[in-house]
Amino acid sequence: MENLESQTLLTDLWLNDNPLEGLEHLEQALVSCKETLTTVYFQNTPAAKTPAYLHSMKRLLPNLEYVDSVVIQR
């Protein structure tokens, strides 16, 4: 999947249950919508099984409200 970084209004991104290999490019890919994204789903992907996954999501997306249906407490 390419050019996700062109999305500036994205609020919900569902990529769960995909064989995503890693999230190393995610920060750059979401740079344009990191302020608008409130809901992301990456559960059941290999990338979401890394220990730093949840912390990385919180750090990357300041307005995040839900990660994999889990409410984010700020």
Binding site: T8, L15, S32, N44
Partner: protein
């Protein structure tokens, strides 16, 4: 024929029997006004990474690339879960997208195509180096069947630039021949043009007026900013 605001189809308009998504670009031009599209694949139990692909061949599974979504430039919500999609085409023309649901597919990577991670030439076209010195614009021209019929129709541009000052979301280039500096790539369904941005910067007013006449435009372009120099690596 009125334009639907939404298309909601469950399974029926999902994967075709060949395992490929329907090519929306072959549909009527009203697709461009669509604000929501749900093409959900067959429902299956559990949360397996494997969509129900048993009825398809290995070749089909390898080639399930969604095509034609780029024409849906008004789309705000796109639901494509459970379709066995392995690759998505460039979404940069969907500038209004708010919800993107690609759950339970076969996507393996999220890549950054428009912006390199460094200025060292990463992902740059062959023979080009990324640089901030010169901003050029790359236009990806989708070769639609209608374009082959009439090559002199107005060209609509779906603006997807980032960090630009233009306020028009959709621009019309009055003289498409002015951008005809690119070269076609034989065997591909697209080719690219390189444009100097000021060509657009002075055209916003005329573009707005001309947009009214674009109802029958036959070419859909998606273009994106790239920064590279003209010099050869």
């Amino acid at each position: 024929m009125t334009c639907p605001a939404w298309v909601y189809q469950h399974a029926e308009l999902g994967l075709t029997t060949s395992g490929r998504m329907p090519r929306l670009s072959k549909g009527p031009l009203l697709w461009r006004h669509l604000s929501g599209l749900l093409l959900q694949g067959p429902v299956h139990d559990g949360h397996s990474l494997e969509p129900p692909l048993d009825s398809r061949t290995a070749a089909d599974r390898d080639a399930t690339c969604l095509q034609g979504v780029g024409v849906l430039i008004s789309l705000e919500e796109l639901y494509l879960s459970q379709n066995g999609i392995t690759a998505m085409e460039d979404l940069s023309s969907l500038t209004n997208l708010k919800i993107l649901d690609l759950a339970q597919n076969r996507i393996t990577k999220v890549r950054c195509a428009a912006y390199p991670s460094s200025q060292t030439g990463h992902d740059a076209p062959a023979g080009m180096c990324w640089t901030t010195k010169t901003d050029l614009l790359t236009v990806t021209v989708l070769e639609l069947p209608s374009r082959q019929q009439s090559k002199h129709n107005p060209v609509e541009l779906a603006w997807c630039g980032r960090g630009c000052s233009l306020t028009e979301q959709h621009l019309l280039l009055p003289q498409p021949q002015a951008i005809n500096t690119g070269c076609a790539c034989p065997g591909k369904s697209w080719y690219e043009h390189t444009i100097i941005p000021p060509l657009f910067a002075t055209n916003t007013c005329s573009n707005k007026h001309a947009l009214q006449d674009v109802q029958h435009a036959h070419d859909v372009l998606a273009f994106r900013w790239r920064t590279w120099s003209r010099r050869r690596c």
